[in-house]
């Protein structure tokens, strides 16, 4: 079965500094990887995905993620954090379920707090 680990419950960063939110995964076959963001009292919003191609994936709101196959990681990054980036971030991997369908498995989430 597939799994996702987000080792940090919370990440604190000063506005203007680079940020990294970590994610590692385990899945059989080629990984389909995703990052989502959740603002308070809202549903999850898609940020970016990796399916194939370049290891550096660019997404919404200036975020990017680096796929590293050897380390089975898919860390989310942004060169310069904004206070408005403060939110809950989820990493997800698509994997094959026992019933033969591909389903996403999400990590526990990392709360990003950007300080002014």
């Amino acid at each position: 079965a597939q799994s996702v680990a987000q080792p940090e419950d919370q990440v604190n960063v000063a506005e203007g500094n680079p940020l990294t939110v970590k994610c590692t995964y385990s899945v059989s076959g080629n990984p389909y990887l995703f990052w989502y963001v959740q603002y308070p009292n809202r549903g999850l919003q898609f940020l970016l995905k990796y399916i194939t191609g370049d290891n550096l994936v660019k997404g919404s709101y200036g975020f990017e993620a680096e796929f590293n196959k050897s380390q089975t990681s898919f860390h989310l990054k942004k060169p310069s954090a904004l206070v408005s980036d403060s939110a809950l971030y989820f990493c997800a991997v698509r994997g094959l379920a026992s019933g033969g369908s591909y389903i996403p498995t999400f990590g526990r989430g990392t709360s990003l707090i950007v300080h002014p």
Binding site: R42, L44, Q45, Y102, I103
Partner: protein, 114 residues
């Protein structure tokens, strides 16, 4: 999110009552999912559906029932609500799984069982 709506937005119910959470999507996506979000657990999959009349259990299906008679609707029923089912419930949908924009989520239903 436009295109996938959940209702009600908030619900308070009593222990032992049956309650149904509704999910409707307008994209004709084949896949639909129900997750619950709890502090410390992230998102856990309850049930999913690959197409109309095809449903399957996820990680935490006990106490829940789903149906999918039409592609666009995927209701989640708590047959006899318990306090442990107090949570925020999210519905999601996807076309070709993993393609394009991944999974699209509704705004959630906050359910409180008293």
């Amino acid at each position: 999110d436009a295109g996938i709506t959940q209702s009600p937005r908030y619900k308070i119910t009593e222990t032992g009552r049956q309650v149904t959470l509704m999910c409707h999507q307008t994209w004709s996506h084949s896949y639909m999912f129900w997750y619950r979000q709890d502090l410390g657990h992230g998102l856990r999959l309850i049930y999913y559906s690959a197409a109309a009349d095809i449903t399957d259990k996820g990680e935490v299906p006990d106490g829940y029932v789903v149906s999918r008679s039409k592609t666009e609707n995927f209701p989640l029923t708590l047959e006899s609500a318990t306090r442990s089912q107090t949570s925020v419930y999210f519905c999601a949908s996807s076309g070709v799984v993993g393609a394009n924009y991944g999974y699209t989520f509704g705004s959630g239903t906050r359910l409180t069982v008293v």
